[in-house]
């Protein structure tokens, strides 16, 4: 138990130190791969042996089921992206910078794994800010003018947005200090216990500020402006990590704060705010997915859409909504990694990010092309893949709750996304053949294996919602909603 936790947090740190000390590209590569496997195994076993929350380091860190679940999503993406990175980063022919890259890469994974276990609202803010600082350099890694532009926008927009979360945190702490006295432990549980006695005005204002702040990091529209740039300009393994892991981590903060305000029963405002932001994100995602030319930007806007769906799931609430949203987290992590890997492969082969130039993909990638196409079907929420089940339960939660309009709008937008997304893929797979053959590099097996590893669980989870998972979700939902319901 404790061992698993320590191993999970130490493994990426070993890579950071190892890659920086022994500056050999191949060594860094395999060390990172090994660490990601270890982290994945540790996160999985942690999820299944955890019963009650356990506290570490003077209550600053704690392990609960919700944290473990998000850590598992992060570890899955870290593992897939590390396998992919071995093949992909070699193609960039920047061996000189590879040790630094892997040090940053593992450091990024470490900050995310740390953030999910932080038990203190102030420390959580710092951990989220740390993820930004580390990942900025990963986004700007290729040092083209576009990457630097994306990195700059990323750090400015996200840091500015996240100060709102700090303001909200300060206001919530202040609200608590009026009851508990000037100094107390600002843990999630303490705030949650004190919330019913807190002044509702402060509580609402604090929550809305926190929502806007961490919402920026999650990429909820209209604070999503950094997301398409950062996700499309970083190296592909980094895009997968940003999309599949980082956004979930920030969403975890919103969920924990939502549980705090829920404990105070101050009406439906927090849930409505989350639902409105969610719908707006799905809407913005739809608009930009339909009219998109860049393949990685297409995936990035799809992330905005899926974060909107997550927000809707948690906003609708109830056991069904929360379970659906949690299931959606893992499904989205797997699926978005798969999509970015496919995009990276074809980018390397065709030498461009523009979709009109990517034609006859199956001709170039007979096997991985099929995997990518299946992934595209999955990400639009079509059966028989996991996202269908999770989106379906979120919709069911919406139809049975008080936000019926949101569920209907979501359904309509999802249908538009289905058509728009698959139209792009139809053109790429069956469109007119371009002049000449693509000249880029052919990717190695390292870049195809993680696509299999992502698609197979996705298919299994679409056909069968494991009983064990349902029990875990049920536990988390009851922990979030509290004993009042």
């Amino acid at each position: 138990m404790t061992l698993c936790f320590i191993v999970l947090l130490i493994a990426p740190l070993v890579v950071v130190v190892g890659a920086l000390l022994i500056r050999r590209p191949r060594f860094a590569e395999y060390l990172n791969l090994l660490a990601s496997v270890v982290a994945f195994l540790a996160a999985t076993s942690l999820l299944f042996i955890i019963r009650t929350p356990i506290f570490f380091w003077h209550n600053y860190l704690f392990v609960d089921t919700l944290g473990c679940w998000v850590a598992l999503c992060t570890a899955v993406v870290y593992l897939l992206a590390s396998i992919y990175a071995v093949g992909y980063m070699r193609l960039l022919a920047q061996d000189k910078h590879l040790p630094g890259f892997y040090a940053l890469f593992a450091g990024f994974a470490w900050t995310m794994l740390l953030a999910v276990f932080v038990n203190n609202i102030g420390m959580f803010w710092i951990a989220i800010e740390l993820t930004t600082l580390v990942s900025t350099f990963l986004v700007g890694f290729e040092r083209a003018a576009e990457s630097i532009e994306a990195a700059w926008k990323y750090i400015i927009v996200v840091s500015a947005g996240i100060t709102l979360a700090l303001l909200g945190t300060v206001l919530l702490y202040w609200g608590g200090s009026l009851i508990l006295g000037p100094s107390y432990d600002m843990t999630w549980q303490v705030l949650r216990d004190v919330a019913p006695h807190m002044n509702p005005v402060l509580l609402k204002l604090g929550f809305l500020l926190v929502l806007a702040g961490y919402g920026t990091k999650v990429g909820l529209a209209p604070m999503h402006t950094w997301l398409p740039d950062a996700h499309s300009e970083g190296p592909t393994p980094v895009s997968a990590m940003l999309s599949g892991a980082l956004l979930n981590t920030a969403m975890l903060g919103i969920v924990r704060f939502l549980a705090i305000v829920d404990a105070a029963s101050i009406g439906s405002l927090p849930h409505t705010a989350l639902v409105v932001l969610g719908i707006f994100s799905v809407f913005i995602g739809t608009l930009f997915i339909v009219h998109q030319e860049g393949i990685k930007r297409l995936m990035a806007y799809s992330s905005v859409e899926h974060m909107g769906i997550l927000a809707l799931g948690f906003g609708f609430g109830g056991v069904l909504g929360i379970a659906g949203a949690l299931y959606h987290m893992l499904n989205h992590s797997l699926n978005k990694s798969l999509m970015f890997f496919g995009a990276g492969n074809s980018m390397r082969r065709y030498g461009t990010k523009e979709m009109p130039a990517l034609r006859r993909v199956l001709h170039e990638f007979p096997v991985s092309g099929l995997l990518w196409l299946a992934g595209a079907v999955a990400i639009t929420g079509a059966p028989p893949f996991g996202l269908f089940l999770s989106e379906f339960s979120i919709l069911r939660a919406g139809f049975s709750g008080s936000n019926l309009w949101a569920a209907i709008v979501m359904l309509v937008l999802l249908i538009i996304i289905f058509i728009g997304f698959l139209r792009h893929f139809g053109a790429m797979y069956f469109g007119r053949r371009p002049e000449g053959t693509p000249q880029g590099a052919i990717v190695s097996a390292w870049c195809v294996v993680p696509m299999w590893l992502a698609l197979i669980p996705l298919l299994i989870m679409g056909l069968w919602w494991p009983d064990g998972l349902m029990r875990i979700f049920d536990g988390i939902a009851h922990q979030l909603i509290g004993p009042t319901l």
Binding site: N120, T136, R143, Y173, V201, Q292
Partner: protein, 226 residues
């Protein structure tokens, strides 16, 4: 809460410092010279350090002296030094393309103050602490936040953006010293440290911006759209 039973002298000194810091953020807003931004920010940080020390003295929080020293070192000396170094390297002395004339942005800033005052007043009445110092602390906190966002949106130089961000955090720092001086020490220390790391990152990025994009104005950042 400390602010609820302060002696009048302390309350007026706190108010003076808060108002002076707010005015300094207007200096940042109204000037187009990058060095002015930097000096105003530096002065503001010194004022906030003074405030920490005074709060520590009146509220008997000895650890706040430590915070005050660190604030002076990090925000009052080291940050301005870093920014000065960046400025010297960039050969940019002032904002070249203004979206808004300084006078217009000052008026917008004044509107921000009025808005913050109304919000602060509403909050302090709602929680039953209508003391002047509470209202003032909230007003200054919100104002500096809004002015910081204003600077971020109407200024284009990379350095202005960095200082705008720092202003956002300064506002929160100032407000939290008065409202919640007992906020766990560790948090404040780490926030200070975090800031330092952030600025180091900015330094590196600004260098890349100059090398790759050829300018440090965000007006040139328009390759990624749609």
């Amino acid at each position: 809460m400390l602010a609820a039973h302060l002696d009048p002298l302390a309350a007026s000194i706190f108010s003076l410092i808060a108002i002076a810091s707010m005015l300094l953020s207007f200096v940042m807003l109204g000037s187009r010279w990058l060095k002015d931004y930097m000096y105003a920010f530096g002065a503001q940080s010194w004022l906030i350090a003074l405030l920490s020390a005074l709060v520590g003295y009146y509220g008997h929080y000895p650890e706040l002296y430590f915070i005050a020293i660190l604030t002076i070192l990090f925000r009052g000396l080291f940050l301005p030094y870093l920014v000065l170094r960046i400025l010297r390297r960039l050969h940019v002395k002032r904002e070249l393309h203004l979206v808004l004339q300084p006078s217009t942005s000052l008026i917008l800033g004044a509107i921000c103050v009025v808005f913050s005052l109304v919000v602060a007043f509403r909050i302090s009445t709602a929680i039953g602490f209508p003391e002047n110092i509470v209202v003032l602390a909230l007003t200054v906190m919100f104002t500096m936040k809004l002015v910081g966002f204003l600077i971020l949106s109407v200024r284009h130089e990379a350095v202005s953006h960095i200082l705008g961000l720092m202003l956002l955090e300064n506002g929160i720092f100032l407000g939290s010293q008065i409202l919640i001086p007992g906020m766990p020490l560790l948090i404040e220390l780490v926030v200070l440290f975090d800031l330092l790391v952030a600025v180091a990152c900015f330094g590196v990025l600004v260098r890349y911006l100059l090398a790759r994009v050829g300018s440090t104005s965000s007006l040139e950042l328009k390759r990624l759209i749609g």
